[in-house]
Structures are given as structure tokens and as C-alpha cells.
């Protein structure tokens, strides 16, 4: 909503309150002012001139030499390039020495050899936004109404004004009108309010009855109409045009301008139908038939969705109620008689219709937020009055009104104690009453509180707490003392899962991974780039995506991580280590009937070198076991035991370098190298990734730590090198050794692995370091040798292992 300072000052005395002051006061009462604009965007010394003569320019086809009377002794000679300049016109003339928006200074100058003593201006040159300039005034110089020459154009066009750009919250529909804002400002400033009630005008001679039939009474509870004839369509008076332009509305003609003006003034949208285009003086309001279409004022033929409310003349639709009038009943330059509509439509219905049609208008905006039912008739009277006064109209019908129910002011009880307790400030009863008096709510003191009558213009106030807010905002929140909550203490803090999430984040950072946050929305194509763990589950789709790139919820964190790596590679980053912790969305349902599972996952990607280059040597390139080591580090720090790795093949991954990660046999993640084809497709070098489902890990994490006494007897170590089949998993050999050795074997470490020339084809040599220890005594060599031999013979019989020398 754009609020004209000058217009407002007609209703409320603004003496001593500058536009900036007003903006500040409004903002602190809850009507946020986004900006204050001077309507004159920077011109000076532009006056009304009367074009006396227009001669062709001797040296230029497109230029003309005009003789313009600006009220000085001698008329001015001005060279003008506009095609529409003509003798007899009144035009804005920028005098020598004038400034125009953008810093242009007008000088006495010769244009192609002819003296020019000023400039005739277009609306654009005066800095008037094109969208509010009458259509026939957009091109060429601005033609003004007949005015005394020498008049200041700034004043003539109402540009000596300020406009406050309001950022209204949806509850304050009352502030979508000058009257509503006048009430608000009068309350804020505690000043008098001057609003004139328009008179009722009755037909003088002949009278046409208007037939009103409301078929959809719930959707249209109130309808008022009146007919005015003898209208002469013309531009509306300059003062009205100026106010419309200040409010951001383009002047059209007197009839349309009047309906818009009254809407701005009172907040009630009006519509004028050309009566001659109606079958008869009849208005029938009904719901649209299936498949019914209406061509609206903008020339678009629209299919009316079911439930659309239509205004008809009994035989054809002539408007979509509350949204836009029909083309077939439009007021044109030939119109002489209009039927004026002022009605109330169901806010929800107007909202639905305007959303479904994608047609949002000044009218629909007001109807859907709620208009003051008491102004329906006032607005009709005001428009009729203006049609008579401005457009030469004659009233030829009575006010015809259908009202389902008289709307009354509502009464709300406000308890004083509740008020002071909720605001946290001790107020005197007089202070509270004073605030309601300023708001022009009538208030009576009752036991322990007040009875407040809320006028119909404030539809947002329906209960006690709303009144408390009114008191709070007008009393001023800055006057309420700040305190900290007291009472029962709460402990607060992070839950175990929240704490572990932070732990993981900081461990990953410590391992050199940078944290990313990518979009949840993605596309099936993106998700298909890498295979998914588990079976192929249905994707969760948005019903109305904004773009093809974002149609479904992610089921894996990896695709966007890969995308991010690629983005960075393209920006000369070679060593990339990234992770993301976030939710993926899992469902078994094709069409959601319940909320999906939101699975918290950790995913990481690493490619290039582990460290930056260094003068001491070559940095290490990332490899499978480096990443696995990081995972093992994570699990150890989290205190998760029972993790196993199992080679697997998944689409998008290197078939020989990918492992499922299991926690006590439950699949919890994946570690592997991206398939070289996938890496290549994303311009990535050898790339490793892992992903982990975090909740099962959190459950297993953080087992209780019990101190165990430090060993008092020495460890005995033995190395064991064997040759076995190349594809025998190391983990399996370790398992066998552990179970054969029993409790005395403390640790096994693989310390060497090779195959090649010295080893038979299809075999590998693997060497383990075994550490034995007895808790209660020193182990003898003999004991250890026996154990060692037992292990060796087990490996020989189980795997055909051969001991290496």
C-alpha cells in the first residue's frame, strides 16, 4: 500500500509531523514503512506553458520550433522533438536554469542553429513512473489540462507530496484504505479525525428499478447497486488523477477512476457496469456452471473453476465476483449509464478463485483479506456522489441493497490482570481506556476489566488477546521492562544424538574434510548417477516443482556431494575433501499417506592428494585404505565396535573397491571408489566416498568406559608370514587366528602384504604381528611357541597356508 502524505493530511492534521516522523511512528505501531519517497524525484522550475505556435525547424525534419507562453513578458522559443506537440496545448516547460531528475540542467542553447529557451517535458522526463501515466500520455510530451500559464507543475501534478511505502501484514486489511490509515494515524498521534460521510442521493425524476437476486448467499452475503446515467466519459480531474498516481494506479477515465479512487479511500472495491450492455437492469449472483468461461477486462478468456462466483445480468456472466469485471460490460468512451456495484464476497472464495486463475487484483487483494461491511453502502454513495459531481451523472435508481445479516460491532471482555500479566507491565485503568479512546473503540469499565466494542473495520480483532496487543503496541514495547524467566529451572543441553552429531562434525573437520550443505531437492537423474543401497524405493515428488532440477527429495547425500566436487574442480581445486551431514528421505509408498523416514546420514568424498604439496616430498594420493583408516578412526572415537566390511558391487562404484559397512550384521553404510566412468563424467580423478547411517551408530556409540588394571607382565610378540590364495580376505585369516589362539592373543596387526615374482601365481604373502600376554604371569617362550605352532597348523589345514621362512 502506498500512502500519500498530502492525501492523509486531509483527514488527520499532520502539523509538526514530517513524512519521516510519520513513517517512524507508523513503524513503531506495527505498520511497517519500507521507504519514504518524494514524489518529485528531482525537478525544479517546471511550469505550465501554453503552446502558441508550432513551426517546422528549418534544419531538421523531426524537430519543431514552438512559441510557448509561460506567463513571462515574451513567449519563449523552444525546440521540441515530440511528434504530438500542437498549438493550443498546455504543457510542462522546464525553464532555463531548471533541473530534471537524473541531474540534467536546462540551458539556453542552439539546436541545429535555432535558439531554444527551455524544454517541453514528457512524463518520463519529469520522473513519473510509466505505469501510472495515462496510456495516451506515455509517448511524447505530457499534455496538461487548461491551467494558468506559469503554474508550478510540481503542485499541479501533486508531486509536492511524499509517499510512504507500507509493508502491511496480512491481518491489517483495514490499512488498505486511506480511511483505515487515517484511523490508525489519528490513534497513534492522538489527533482529531475528519472523515466526511457521503450523502445518499435519490433519483429525481424517472426511476429504474434494479432487480437483485443472490443465488449464492453464503458466498455473497451483501450486494448494493445503483444506476447513474447521463455520464460523459472524460479524463478525471487532475486532483483525482494525482491521488491515483500517488497510490500507484494509472488513471483511465472518470468512471473507472472514481471506482478506484473510492476503493483507495474507503477500502471497498467497486465495479461499474455499462448498463446498456446488460440484458436488463438486473444483477444475479450465482456460482459458475461447469465449463463456463468469462472474458475479463484484460481481454483474456478464462475457464471458471468450479465454485467460482459470477455476477450475471440474468442471462450472461458480466464479472468474476471480487476479482475482475467482464469485457462484455466494460465501461468505454461511449458509456452513458452505469450500474455501480458495491458488495461483500467471501474472502476464502475470492482467494481461491484469484489463486486458481492466477489473477490477483487490487479488488481481490482487499476482498480476500476482508473489507469492512459497514462501508459497502458508504462506498456506493461516495462513488455515486462523485459520478454526479465529476462525470455529469444523474441518479436514476434507488440504492438497491440485499443484506443477509446486519453486521454489528463485537464486544470483547478484557481483564485488566490478564493484560498486565501478559504484557509484563503495570498499567493504570485510565491508560488502558485512553488507548481505546484513541483507537475509537468504545470502552466501558467493568469489574476487573473492560468491555470493549470493536468496530467492524477491525476484523482482525476477535478476542481478548487481540485487544492486549492493541494496548501493547500503542503503549510502546520499549516501555515494558525486560526480565529473565524465573520459576522452575530447566536443565536443557544437548541430547546424546545431538552431542554425537557435533562430535562427528568436529572429527571430520579434524580429518581435513570441509563441511557442505547442499539442497534437499534434486532430480531423479541426479540420484541415478550413483547406485543406492538397499532396494530401489519410490521417490518422493513435489506436486508442483519450480524447476526440473528440483522435483524430488534426495535419497542419498552423494549426488550433490559429487556435484559440489565437480564444481570445485572446475575452479582449480584439486585436493578435495568434503562431507555433509543431513537427512535423506525414505518411503515405501508410491503416494505418501504418512510422513517419510528422515534418515540422518553422513557422507564424505575425497579426491586428489591428502595434503597440499610440500618442499619435503611428494604428498600422498588418496586411496581406499586411507579413507578406511579415517572411518576406523571415527568408529574408534565414537566407541562403536562390531563394524565389519564386506566387498560388494554397486552401480556407479568400482567393482573391486567397494565395501558395505555392517554394524553387527545390519547394513549401515558404504565405502568405495567411484567407478572411473562416473568420476570421469564429473571431471574427477580417482575419488573415494563413504556414507553412513548415523542413528544405528549413535545407538552403539559411547559405551561405558570401565577402567581395567594395567598389565603387570610383559608382552611377547611373534611375526607370522604365510602364503595363501590371493583372494582369501585378511579379515577371515585374522578371525581364524583369534579363535585358534584364545585369550592370550591380545592383538593381530597385518604389517606386510605382497605378491609378485617371489610368490606363486594366484597367491599372496601376508605377514602378521601377534602380541601375546598373560594377565597373571610372564609367558614362557615354550608356551608362546606352542600357541604359535598351533595357529600355523590351523592355517595350513584351513587355507593350505605355507609358512614363509
Amino acid at each position: 500500500m502506498l500512502l500519500s502524505y498530502n492525501w492523509l493530511s486531509e483527514y488527520v492534521d499532520l502539523t509538526g509531523i514530517s513524512p519521516e516522523d510519520l513513517a517512524e511512528r507508523l513503524t513503531f505501531a506495527g505498520i511497517e514503512v519500507e521507504a519514504v519517497h518524494a514524489r518529485n524525484t528531482g525537478f525544479t522550475q517546471v511550469v505550465v506553458g501554453h503552446v502558441k505556435e508550432v513551426e517546422p525547424h528549418p534544419n531538421a525534419d523531426r524537430l519543431r520550433v514552438c512559441t510557448v507562453d509561460v506567463g513571462e513578458e515574451e513567449p519563449l522559443s523552444i525546440v521540441c522533438g515530440a511528434a504530438n506537440v500542437a498549438p493550443g496545448q498546455y504543457v510542462p516547460v522546464a525553464l532555463v536554469g531548471a533541473r530534471l531528475p537524473g541531474g540534467i540542467k536546462i540551458k539556453r542553447t542552439k539546436l541545429r542553429g535555432v535558439l531554444s529557451e527551455g524544454m517541453i517535458c514528457s512524463a518520463q522526463e519529469l520522473g513519473i513512473p510509466e505505469k501510472v501515466v495515462a496510456k495516451n500520455q506515455v509517448e511524447g510530451i505530457l499534455v496538461l489540462p487548461k491551467t494558468d500559464v506559469g503554474t508550478d507543475v510540481d503542485k499541479l501534478l501533486g508531486l509536492d507530496d511524499y509517499v510512504l511505502e507500507l509493508e502491511l501484514t496480512p491481518n491489517r486489511a483495514d490499512c488498505l484504505s486511506m480511511w483505515g490509515l487515517a484511523y490508525e494515524v489519528a490513534a497513534i498521534l492522538d489527533r482529531k479525525l475528519k472523515l466526511e460521510q457521503p450523502p445518499q442521493i435519490l433519483p429525481e425524476e424517472k426511476e429504474i428499478p434494479v432487480e437483485l437476486i443472490l443465488d449464492a448467499k453464503e458466498e455473497c452475503p451483501t450486494y448494493a447497486a445503483q444506476i447513474v446515467s447521463g455520464i460523459k466519459i472524460a479524463p478525471s480531474p487532475q486532483w483525482m488523477q494525482n491521488r491515483l498516481m500517488a497510490a500507484g494506479i494509472r488513471p483511465i477515465n472518470n468512471v473507472v477512476d472514481i471506482t478506484n479512487y473510492v476503493m483507495l479511500e474507503m477500502g471497498q472495491p467497486l465495479h461499474a457496469f455499462d448498463l446498456d450492455k446488460l440484458a436488463e437492469p438486473m444483477i444475479r449472483v450465482r456460482l459458475a456452471h461447469p465449463g463456463e468461461t468469462v472474458t475479463t477486462l484484460d481481454g483474456v478468456t478464462r475457464a471458471c473453476p468450479e465454485g467460482t462466483l459470477l455476477i450475471t445480468d440474468g442471462s450472461k456472466p458480466i464479472a468474476i465476483a471480487g476479482v475482475m469485471g467482464g469485457h462484455n460490460s466494460e465501461v468505454t468512451s461511449k458509456t452513458t449509464t452505469v450500474l455501480l456495484e458495491s458488495a461483500l464476497f467471501d474472502p476464502g472464495l475470492v482467494r481461491t478463485t484469484s489463486r486458481t486463475l492466477g489473477l490477483r487484483t487490487e479488488a481481490s487483494n482487499r476482498f480476500e483479506k476482508g473489507v469492512d461491511p459497514e462501508r459497502i453502502l458508504l462506498a456506493l454513495r461516495r462513488a455515486v456522489q462523485l459520478l454526479v459531481e465529476i462525470a455529469g451523472g444523474t441518479v436514476i435508481s434507488r440504492e438497491t441493497v440485499e443484506v443477509q445479516e446486519d453486521v454489528e460491532d463485537i464486544t470483547i471482555q478484557l481483564r485488566h490482570e490478564r493484560l498486565t500479566r501478559l504484557l509484563g507491565v503495570q498499567l493504570k485503568a485510565e491508560e488502558v481506556e485512553e488507548i481505546f479512546r484513541r483507537l475509537r473503540f468504545s470502552v466501558k469499565t467493568v469489574d476487573h476489566g473492560y468491555r470493549v466494542e470493536v468496530p467492524t473495520r477491525r476484523l482482525d480483532i476477535t478476542q481478548e488477546v487481540d485487544l492486549i496487543e492493541e494496548v501493547g503496541r500503542l503503549y510502546g514495547y520499549d516501555r515494558i521492562p525486560a526480565t529473565l524467566p524465573w520459576g522452575t529451572q530447566s536443565t536443557g543441553g544437548l541430547s546424546k544424538e545431538q552431542r554425537l552429531q557435533r562430535t562427528i562434525r568436529h572429527l571430520m573437520l579434524g580429518l581435513g574434510f570441509s563441511e557442505t550443505i547442499t539442497y534437499t531437492l534434486t532430480s531423479p537423474e541426479e540420484l541415478r548417477k550413483v547406485g543406492r543401497l538397499g532396494q530401489d524405493l519410490p521417490l518422493i515428488r513435489l506436486s508442483l516443482p519450480m524447476s526440473d532440477e528440483r522435483t524430488v527429495l534426495r535419497t542419498s547425500l552423494l549426488p550433490h556431494l559429487i556435484q559440489t566436487a565437480r564444481y570445485n574442480v572446475h575452479r582449480q581445486q584439486e585436493n578435495i575433501a568434503l562431507f555433509e551431514m543431513g537427512h535423506v528421505f525414505i518411503t515405501q509408498e508410491k503416494q505418501l499417506s504418512k510422513l517419510p523416514e528422515e534418515r540422518l546420514e553422513l557422507a564424505a568424498l575425497i579426491t586428489g592428494n591428502r595434503e597440499p604439496i610440500h618442499w619435503q616430498g611428494i604428498p600422498s594420493k588418496v586411496d581406499f585404505f586411507m579413507v578406511k583408516g579415517m572411518l576406523e578412526f571415527l568408529f574408534t572415537r565414537l566407541g562403536v565396535e562390531g563394524i565389519t566390511y564386506h566387498g560388494t558391487e554397486i552401480e556407479g562404484f568400482h567393482p573391486g573397491r567397494t565395501a558395505e559397512i555392517r554394524l553387527d550384521d545390519r547394513l549401515v553404510g558404504l565405502l568405495g571408489q567411484l567407478h572411473p566412468e562416473v568420476s570421469k563424467a564429473h571431471d574427477l580423478d580417482e575419488t573415494y566416498v563413504f556414507q553412513l547411517e548415523l542413528l544405528p551408530l549413535f545407538k552403539a556409540a559411547g559405551r561405558k568406559i570401565h577402567f581395567s588394571p594395567l598389565p603387570r607382565y610383559p608382552e611377547v610378540t611373534r611375526d607370522l608370514a604365510i602364503v595363501v590364495d590371493a583372494d582369501l580376505p585378511a579379515a577371515e585369516i585374522k578371525e581364524t587366528i583369534y579363535s585358534e589362539a584364545g585369550e592370550l592373543l591380545k592383538t593381530i596387526t597385518v604389517f606386510d602384504l605382497f605378491s609378485g615374482e617371489q610368490i606363486e601365481a594366484g597367491k599372496k604373502s601376508i605377514a602378521f604381528n601377534l602380541v601375546f600376554q598373560h594377565p597373571e604371569r610372564t609367558l614362557t617362550d615354550d608356551e608362546v611357541n606352542q600357541l604359535h605352532n598351533k595357529i600355523v597348523s590351523k592355517l595350513e589345514t584351513t587355507y593350505g597356508a605355507k609358512l614363509r621362512g
Binding site: 511497517e32 514495547y477 526480565t483 529451572q489 573437520l509 550443505i517 534437499t520 513435489l542 575433501a577 610440500h614
Partner: protein
Amino acid sequence: MKQKLQELKEEASQRIAEVNNLRDLQELRVKYLGKKGEIKTLLRGMGKLPPAERPVIGSLANEIQKALEEQIDKKETMIEKELLEQRLIREKLDVTLPGRPLPIGAIHPLRKVIEEIEDIFIGMGFAIAEGPEVEWDKYNFEALNIPKNHPARDMQDSFYITSEILLRTHTSPVQVRTLLEREGQVPVKIICPGKVYRRDDDDATHSHQFMQIEGLVVDRGISVGELKGTLDTFVKRMFGQEVQSRLRPSFFPFTEPSVEMDISCVVCAGKGCRVCKQTGWIEILGAGMVHPRVLQYAGYDAERYTGFAFGMGPDRIAMLKYGIDDIRHFYTNDLRFLRQFQSV
């Protein structure tokens, strides 16, 4: 014999003095003092001496041996010291050469800000509550006093999945879920950080996905005063003790009265700059007293209990705090951007 011993001592002493490396010194030790060394060899002829002289010679020989040993030890220490000094000179490093770099991970600025905010509220006794990103319409809107077809829904254009399920447009539904879970118990003191989604075209100041932190306090006797006190404490700890805050009336369907909180501009300290659009103030959060309908929906007696709620945007706060000019940086994850946040 005595003279021979003396001569031997002279000779050895001289040679020891001349020696300049440990190996030669060791040889001298063996040559003169060893089991088959020259002193021992000489003393083997002692049997031929008259018995009276033997003790004299014997003690002289001991004296000489001891003296030589001392001399050798001393010399050895000297040479070792010299060698060490030489080594230390050789080992001199250019300490200005760079150290071996360790890979450094950068925390995401949004997480950094969220953790900071969480910690401030944890310090005030708040717990962290979480809720789903895919939410029921009834929790996202209806329970928050935003019925279907209400104009307030325009404030938050949503991504629907079905007519009843959508991507949450704010973290406020966690309020509702928490209250329902707590079944009328007080005090409730939570904040809920998380991702939210709105149908916005991505540009420098809009993102279809962003972060929000919701807060809720419900107890007996909670008023606008407690709201002011809590949030003012928060902004001072977050942005500095010198920061001022103020409340402006506003509107949210789920709070009544509703306010917005501004803080004095953290860039210009309130003098007026580009960031605060010359006003000296920056809007930082929305808040208000929990609407009685929200409490009633969740089964709380709105007569007995009151509360306040607030919501803020970590994206906006991080942009302010670090002077970031484009919200898309947070979701593009350019390493050159992220690495600017690697320090604590």
C-alpha cells in the same frame, strides 16, 4: 724402571694431547692402558726388581695409569663436545621454511552460527528440539492458527507433496510437536534449528532452502518482559554487549502480540550504513507471545500458562556477521568460500 715409566708417561701424554679423533684416542687407550698395553707390559718386568722398590714402582705405575686415564677421559669429552658442536652447526635449519601442512577442514558458516546460537540458549537452560522437514499441513499451518485459505499463507509459499504433506516452511511446527509431546508439562524451553523450504526463486537474498531457529518458552507467568529479557540477553551474547535491541509490533498468526526485534547495526554501530540502509538498525528476529489457540491446540490451558516464541534465520545472521553478500554461497559450497571459515 722408574725412568722408563716416566718416559712412557711423557710419550703417552704427548700423543694423547696430539690426538684429535675418538678412534685414535681409543687406540691410544688400548696401546698404553690396555691389558696388553705398554704399561702392563713394562710392569711384567717388576719381578726382577728388588722387593723394596716394588711397592714404589707399583704405586707410581698406578698413579701414571690414573693420570693417563683421566687425560684420555678429558680428551674424549673434549672431542665429543667438539663433534657435537660441529654436528649442531651442520644440523642448522632454515626455520623459515614452511611446516608440513596437515589437511584442514572448514566448518560450514551456517553450522558455525547455529552451534553458537545453540550454545547461548543452552547456557540459559534451553534444550534442542528437532522435527521432520517433511511435515503435516496441520502442524505447519493449522495448529499454528493458519487455517487453510488464510491470507497469512501467502507469507510462506510452500512446496506440497500431497494436499496434506509439505516441506515445512518454518521450524514452528516443532513448537507444536514439542507441546504435544510434553502433554501439558512446564517449563518448556526449547530451540529448534533446522532446514526450511519456501517457493522462492533463488537470488542473492532468497533461497528456496534455508535455515531457521525457532524458540519456545512456556511456563506460568511468562510475559512480554521475559521475551524482551531473554532475547536481549541473546543478542548481546551473540553480537556483543554494546549492541542495543528494540521491539517493533508485527504480525505472526501463531503469536499475539507479535513483534520484530531490531538490533543496532553491527557494521556501523548504529551510525547508519549501507547494511542497515542508513537506519542504524537491523531486523534480526520475529517473536511474540504464544497465541492462546496454539496452546489450546496442543492441550495447554492458556489461562494458566503463557509463553513466548521466536524465530530467526541463521543464513541472515551469518551474512551479517561475516559480511556475506549472497545467500547462494551457503549452498554452492565453493571451497574458496568454505575455507574462509576454518578458524574457530
